[in-house]
């Protein structure tokens, strides 16, 4: 049986830096997998490779048995994988609702000819899409902030909004880059609860996370990356218990 998502033999070099070194791992459907490792381990780079923002020097990415490497980002989203960014990358001059609308799969009126020559049709379909986007906002608890410009939202709200935008794509495998970083305790719990809920709804999550508390609480499975290579994997308890990994991770500070 082939894995749900399978990454194998990926090498990526930037000038003199070997960012990914024969990186390979597999992810099962339906779980929350956390990816940990020290800074510069290649976590964000592998995200970029999986989602088509980087074309690796060598190696393959397969999703549900289908090869994805070499496809453009939008084709990968269409195949069912979407990602968020560590630095959010929201459209701060648009409203919360509009941000989610951009996430929705392309529809009528997103190309100029349709927008210009069938305005009423466009408007009717857009109303339906707005309702859909509103649902996503409700899902993450931001419905009352729909008309607010993103720059006026709190950091916690912005983090939730990235998840709503991600959900809007309809992807079944979600790649989240540090969804909990920088959050106060209350917002942190809110985000963790949301991730759990998404898992319950049938999504598969791959999460880059630094906070060991978060990893312990949500991860079904942990991947440990070091110098662009998968060094270890296992349950959160197994990984955290391994002194050699802690040495690498915290540089001996613990």
């Amino acid at each position: 049986m082939s894995a749900y998502l399978e990454v194998s033999g990926v090498n990526q070099r930037f000038g003199g830096l070997q960012a990914l070194n024969d990186c390979g791992f597999a992810i099962a459907q339906g779980g929350i997998t956390c990816m940990v490792g020290p800074n510069g381990a290649g976590k964000t780079t592998i995200f970029n490779v999986i989602t088509g923002f980087l074309r690796p020097d060598t190696g393959h990415v397969a999703f549900r048995g289908r090869r994805l490497d070499g496809l453009r980002p939008q084709a990968i989203v269409a195949a069912g994988i979407a990602r968020s960014f560590q630095n959010l990358r929201l459209f701060v001059d648009l409203t919360a609702l509009e941000n989610v609308l951009i996430g929705l799969p392309s529809g009528f009126g997103e190309a100029p000819l349709g927008a210009l020559f069938r305005p009423f049709h466009t408007a009717r379909l857009d109303r339906a899409r707005r309702a859909q986007a509103m649902e996503r906002l409700e899902h993450v608890g931001l419905a009352d902030r729909a008309a607010e410009k993103v720059r006026n939202l709190s950091y916690g709200e912005q983090k939730l909004l990235t998840v709503a935008r991600l959900l809007a794509t309809g992807a079944e495998l979600l790649l989240l880059d540090e969804p909990a970083s920088g959050l106060a305790a209350g917002a942190l719990d809110q985000v963790m609860a949301l991730l759990r809920r998404l898992q319950g709804e049938g999504k598969t999550l791959l999460v880059v996370e630094h906070n060991t508390r978060v990893v312990q609480q949500i991860a079904d499975h942990v991947l440990f990356l070091h110098q662009g290579h998968l060094m270890a994997e296992g349950t959160p308890a197994q990984i955290i218990a391994d002194p050699a990994l802690a040495e690498i991770y915290f540089g001996g500070a613990l």
Binding site: T51, F85, F91, L94, L101, I102, G103, L116, A123, T169
Partner: protein, 287 residues
């Protein structure tokens, strides 16, 4: 009365150009300094067809629009490879190259002598010779342009373009085809500029490279700044104000020998004042 008519006609032609520039610079964020070159190509194509008698006005205008769509897409392609200031300078280069072609390709453009005697526009065989008739035509053309801009901006398409200006990568991550959206915006902007060029040539009846040079491109950019980015109102207000400005400055009493430089100086001061005190222009959003 003709003065106000000719002011309105030119302002309306510049509204089409303002829409074109605003779409590219304000909405999508492609800082093109070569829109006047596209405008010029539209003007020369229509003039050449009318002067040689091969096509009548409306078909010639259609050809010009198509040519400018293709041209503008080609001209904005570098923006996919080079970004920010690099594109601005590349675009400067394109504009100067275009000026060189307009000035030296005597066969197609009449060179520095320009093309005199371009016939007036005609609609299905009825020539529009009176200024009033031309005004009617440009009003319809500018009106249609505004309608198109408005429809595009309120549709999901406009939202997509605004998102691209803010963060191209995030748009791609949301599963959208950024390339297609950018190319289509450049195409739309090219169509506006091409039509504006054709109408301009037939109204003026004489064109030469000086109307399509770097100064003209900078003027278009200034219209977006003064009018305001990303809004329909901004694209309309900018051209109307900037064309009126030199005329209003003529009313300021200054000794004759230095009057003209003093007026240009005031124009510079005004640009600075807008940049410092009102970066969103008269009726737009912050650039």
């Amino acid at each position: 009365m003709d003065y106000f008519y000719s002011y309105l006609i030119l302002a309306e032609i510049y509204v089409l150009l303002g829409l074109s520039t605003n779409l590219l610079v304000g909405v999508v964020g492609i800082f093109s300094v070569s829109q006047a070159a596209v405008f010029g190509v539209g003007a020369y194509i229509v003039s050449d067809f009318l002067l040689s008698g091969t096509l009548s006005f409306l078909p010639a205008l259609a050809v010009a629009a198509v040519a400018c769509i293709v041209l503008n897409v080609l001209l904005t392609l570098p923006s996919l490879r080079v970004s920010g200031d690099y594109f601005v300078v590349t675009s400067f280069g394109i504009q100067l190259l275009a000026t060189a072609v307009f000035t030296n390709w005597t066969g197609g453009t009449g060179g520095a002598n320009g093309l005199p005697g371009v016939p007036p526009p005609d609609l299905f065989g009825f020539p529009l010779e009176e200024t009033r008739q031309i005004l009617g035509f440009t009003t319809v053309a500018a009106g249609l342009g505004c309608l198109a801009f408005w429809l595009a901006m309120r549709a999901p398409y406009g939202r997509l373009l605004k998102a691209i200006r803010e963060d191209e990568l995030a748009v791609a991550a949301a599963g959208k085809d950024v390339l297609r959206a950018k190319v289509s915006a450049a195409a739309l902007a090219g169509a506006f500029a091409g039509v504006a060029g054709g109408v301009y040539a037939t109204y003026m009846s004489f064109i030469d490279p000086s109307s399509f040079d770097l100064d003209a491109s900078v003027l278009l950019l200034t219209m977006v700044v003064v009018g305001g980015a990303r809004t329909l109102a901004g694209s309309i207000v900018g051209p109307f104000v900037l064309l009126a400005l030199p005329q209003l400055l003529q009313l300021v009493a200054i000794p004759t020998t230095v009057a003209a430089s003093a007026r240009q100086l005031l124009y510079g001061v005004l640009l600075i004042a807008f940049a410092v005190f009102r970066p969103q222009g008269l009726a737009g959003e912050r650039l």
